[in-house]
């Protein structure tokens, strides 16, 4: 808790993302991007926390984010993702999708490419709510229920799935290189396979109870069938996409909408969630040592028997800790990461040992020593 750095930036932050670091180097991330919302003139900004060893800031505290450069953005920044080291993709409340390029030498930002009305209704704008990219492909989703595939450096759109959803699609993530997963406001997860030509999802999963809107989704970095979602009631659900159409485990996480859920990219026993109620939770699960996980109590007995069909070697690590149900209290630890309740925490990102989050209280919090 003592390692948290707060910086007040006079703009409400809607998204923060670390710049990618190459996996070969063991460097900690040093640059992150933020997008603002609800301003008359919104901005995207790049910040540096100077992790390169040399502390060349005299005035600021060590670890205090320093603004590198910023650029104005038309409309609220609803989602933001790094395409590669120099380029980010942003989606706007006007329905536009923009690629910005950061010029390292001159520390300036310029617009590299723009699709001004990617998402839209016939008579008004439709906000573009989510983006995911794996260079050079970019996939966006919006309130108009469309899924659009772009390619960086190509003018037009590659593919549009019109009317993919009759409600708003809130978030999208890659499941495999050709498959994506979307969540919508009637509580459904839909799998889309781009190899198929049809405009129908290949699979639909949903909760069996109330149709609570789902706001965020993230895939387990190593095991591609495990997906975590967060919804309007603050529940964290972990799904197994291969088996069944209902979530594997449901955990009460927050008292208000959950805006973002992220698995730690290199240490996936750790999960982070942030919410409208102003808290950021760090979930830590541990793969058990003594007791095989299929003998622990679980929600659904049929699930247990299925997971009992593990390979004869009884390899514990194949039975993922996240899928063992929520009754195993001893194996799931949750800690609050922010010192006190703030206004809504809209976004978080974690890489290595560094965590950054942005709030409606016009503050950015950086923690450089996350215990993972």
């Amino acid at each position: 808790m003592e390692n948290i750095n707060a910086k007040y930036v006079s703009q409400k932050i809607s998204k923060t993302r670390w710049r990618l670091v190459s996996h070969a180097s063991l460097q900690q991330p040093d640059v992150f991007a933020t997008g603002s919302w609800d301003n008359e003139v919104n901005k995207i900004s790049f910040w540096s926390i100077g992790n390169h060893g040399s502390s060349d800031m005299d005035d600021g505290f060590e670890g205090d984010p320093q603004l590198l450069c910023e650029h104005k953005h038309d409309g609220d920044v609803l989602d933001l993702q790094f395409l590669d080291q120099d380029r980010i993709v942003t989606t706007s409340s006007t329905g536009a999708v923009t690629i910005f390029r950061l010029h390292q030498n001159s520390q300036t930002i310029s617009v590299a490419q723009r699709w001004p009305r990617a998402h839209g209704f016939p008579c008004e704008n439709a906000p573009c709510t989510g983006v995911v990219c794996s260079s050079p492909e970019i996939v966006t989703v919006g309130e108009d229920g469309k899924i659009i595939v772009f390619r960086a450096d190509q003018e037009g759109v590659i593919r549009v799935i019109e009317n993919a959803d009759s409600s708003t699609i809130h978030a999208v993530t890659y499941l495999r290189t050709t498959e994506i997963l979307t969540v919508n406001s009637i509580g459904q997860l839909k799998l889309w396979d781009f190899r198929q030509q049809s405009n129908a999802p290949s699979q639909i999963l949903s909760l069996s109870g109330d149709r609570v809107p789902l706001h965020c989704v993230d895939r387990h970095p190593n095991q591609q069938h495990i997906v975590a979602t967060g919804g309007q009631d603050g529940m964290l659900c972990v799904w197994d996409v291969r088996q069944g159409s209902t979530p594997f485990s449901l955990m009460e996480a927050h008292s208000a909408e959950m805006w973002e859920v992220r698995f730690h990219p290199t240490n996936p026993d750790h999960l982070f969630t942030c919410s409208e109620d102003g808290s950021l939770l760090h979930w830590e699960t541990s793969t058990s040592s003594d007791m095989p996980s299929f003998l622990q109590g679980g929600r659904n007995n049929s699930m247990i028997s299925r997971s009992a069909m593990a390979p004869a070697g009884g390899n514990q690590s194949l039975i993922n800790a996240w899928l063992s149900g929520d009754s195993s209290k001893g194996r799931l630890e949750t800690t609050h990461m922010l010192p006190s309740q703030t206004l809504s925490v809209n976004s978080l990102d974690v890489l290595g040992q560094c965590l950054v989050c942005g709030t409606d209280g016009e503050a950015i919090f950086v923690n450089r020593q996350v215990p993972v």
């Binding site: 439709a126 309130e143 009317n163 409600s167 708003t168 459904q188 409208e276």
Partner: protein, 535 residues
């Protein structure tokens, strides 16, 4: 471009000056109203207040000390006099030592002034000395200073004579140094320091008024800031608040100051005509202003929460007027309403969002908004849309929504019907005719289906009736016939009223005849089947 920069710079300079003025007023209110210092320590607090808000003395001093020969710097004597005017006698003595080193001949004079400066008594609030004792001591010292002046001890050195006159509290000398004092309240505090250090809070305003008059030339008019400070010295809190409200262009400072004073129980709560007290009134004004800001509206909610009488009402009125461009913003507004049990506002905001979704043909979004608001009427509207689409196109749109309604189906009757009707189609598609038939019948007999849709349902029953195998039992067929009779009698009654084209009437009649025929045949086969004894 340069002009723009200049304009921007001047705006910033103006804002900085406003901020400094606000800080000045705030600190003075702290000293006078909240700390409420008694005589003796009052002056010490005021001295701190003046020192805090006059930073240029230190800058000048630094400049002088960093020069090669400080004692010969042209600002040297200004610095020394400024120190004395602010009551920083230790620092003045240290500066004078430098000058004394340069003029060994006048050593005795410098020694004398040093003694005077070191012996000035300052009141110690935590000590054992009472105010009267301090007063006596101070008078002794003051007499000594006067004696030095009358003896002309400093006649040869103009500067030292000035310092001595200041120590004696000579007003004319103080007024000669207007540029060093720069403000009338500095003049006031200095004057009090060297002539009435035991000033009581109640006497303050006499001195304040006279100092203001003396300091300003006959031509210049007191500024709003001066009036505010004067009102503070008079301990007239309400006047301070009133003047600040007039002078400043928004409620930020006044609202917070009043709130602070209210918490210290310094404001008598007289009810204003509109029922709330002054603090609440100002907070409401400030928060209402915040609500019009494009992003600070979220903070205004907290302010309204702290206004016990009218806060809730104001919030209810204001929260509906926040412009909702994106769903995310609408969700945040709704969360605020949910947390305060403002269900009316939840319903109206959801209705706005649902209507917008409906207009853009996003039926799933519209349904999710009406579920959030538990709005049965709107859910009925959406189902009607679906059913209309089906009647015109023959197929359902947005199957992913209807197939996965779940418990939301129970929100409205029409929605339940929609769900069940879709189920009927699915059963028919899977060739589970028996169950499909039962479902169809229950839809009509349980009165879930709207009357207008019965014709379509009966027409859907036709293929089931025409199957080789008997699906509807005799009882079920009787019920179907009953429904048909009910429907035709209704239609006849309404046909008398509304004009229909002959073509429509023909179609209707043909349909009814076909149905009657099929039902009769089915009844016959059913009776036979049920009457047959299984061999």
């Amino acid at each position: 471009m340069e002009e723009l920069q200049q304009v921007a710079a001047s705006v910033l300079v103006l804002q900085v000056s406003i901020l400094l003025a606000i800080e000045l007023i705030w600190n003075l209110c702290e000293v006078l109203f909240i700390d409420a210092a008694p005589a003796g320590s009052l002056l010490l607090h005021l001295l701190d207040w003046v020192r805090l808000h006059k930073a240029d003395v230190d800058e000048k001093a630094r400049e002088v000390l960093q020069s090669e020969s400080p004692a010969e710097h042209r600002d040297y004597w200004d610095v020394v006099v400024s120190y004395v005017l602010q009551g920083r006698l230790e620092e003045a003595r240290q500066m004078l030592v430098k000058q004394a080193a340069l003029q060994p001949a006048a050593r005795s004079m410098y020694k004398l002034i040093d003694t005077l400066l070191s012996r000035m008594p300052f009141y110690n609030p935590g000590g054992n000395q009472t105010l009267t004792e301090f007063d006596v001591k101070w008078r002794h010292w003051h007499d000594e200073v006067n004696r030095c002046l009358q003896d002309n001890s400093f006649a040869s050195n103009r500067h030292l004579e000035i310092i001595c006159k200041i120590l004696a509290g000579d007003e004319d000398t103080l007024l000669e140094h207007k540029e060093l004092l720069s403000t009338w309240y500095h003049f006031l505090v200095t004057r009090l320091l060297f002539s009435h250090p035991t000033v009581k809070p109640t006497e303050l305003h006499y001195y304040a008024q006279s100092c203001l008059t003396m300091f300003l030339d006959s031509r210049s008019v007191p500024e709003p800031l001066d009036n505010i400070l004067l009102a503070a010295f008079e301990f007239d809190i309400h006047q301070v608040i009133k003047d600040c409200s007039i002078a400043l262009n928004n409620w930020w400072f006044v609202a917070h100051l009043t709130d602070l004073l209210d918490h210290c129980k310094l404001l008598q709560s007289h009810n204003l005509h509109f029922g709330s007290n002054l603090r609440e009134f100002l907070l409401l004004e400030y928060a209402s202003g915040l609500f019009t800001h494009h992003s600070l509206w979220q903070l205004a909610v907290d302010y309204f929460d702290h206004c016990p009488e009218f806060g809730h009402v104001y919030l209810e009125l204001q929260i509906e007027r926040v412009p909702l461009d994106t769903e995310r913003k609408a969700l945040k507004v709704l969360r605020i309403c949910d947390q305060r049990q403002m269900s009316e506002q939840v319903r109206s905001i959801c209705k706005i969002m649902a209507m917008r979704a409906l207009r853009n043909n996003r039926l799933g979004s519209a349904l999710s908004w009406s579920i959030r608001a538990k709005d049965a009427a709107f859910a009925t509207l959406i189902s009607e849309r679906f059913l209309q689409d089906y009647c015109t196109r023959g197929t359902f749109s947005d199957l992913d929504l209807i197939d996965n309604l779940g418990p939301a189906m129970l929100l409205s009757d029409r929605l339940t019907f929609l769900g069940k009707y879709r189920e009927f189609h699915k059963l028919y598609g899977e060739k589970r005719f028996g169950e499909a038939a039962k479902l169809l019948l229950s839809l009509m007999t349980a009165k879930i289906a709207p009357r207008s849709f019965w014709m379509t349902l009966l027409t859907d029953a036709l293929p089931l009736l025409e199957q080789k195998e008997v699906i509807f039992s005799a009882d079920q067929t009787h019920e179907l016939m009953f429904c048909l009779e009910e429907l035709t009698s209704c239609l006849n009654a309404s046909a008398l009223g509304s004009p229909k084209t002959s073509q429509d009437e023909d179609i209707e009649l043909t349909k009814v005849e076909l149905l009657r025929l099929s039902l009769a045949r089915n009844l016959a086969m059913a009776i036979i089947k049920e009457g047959t004894v299984e061999a």
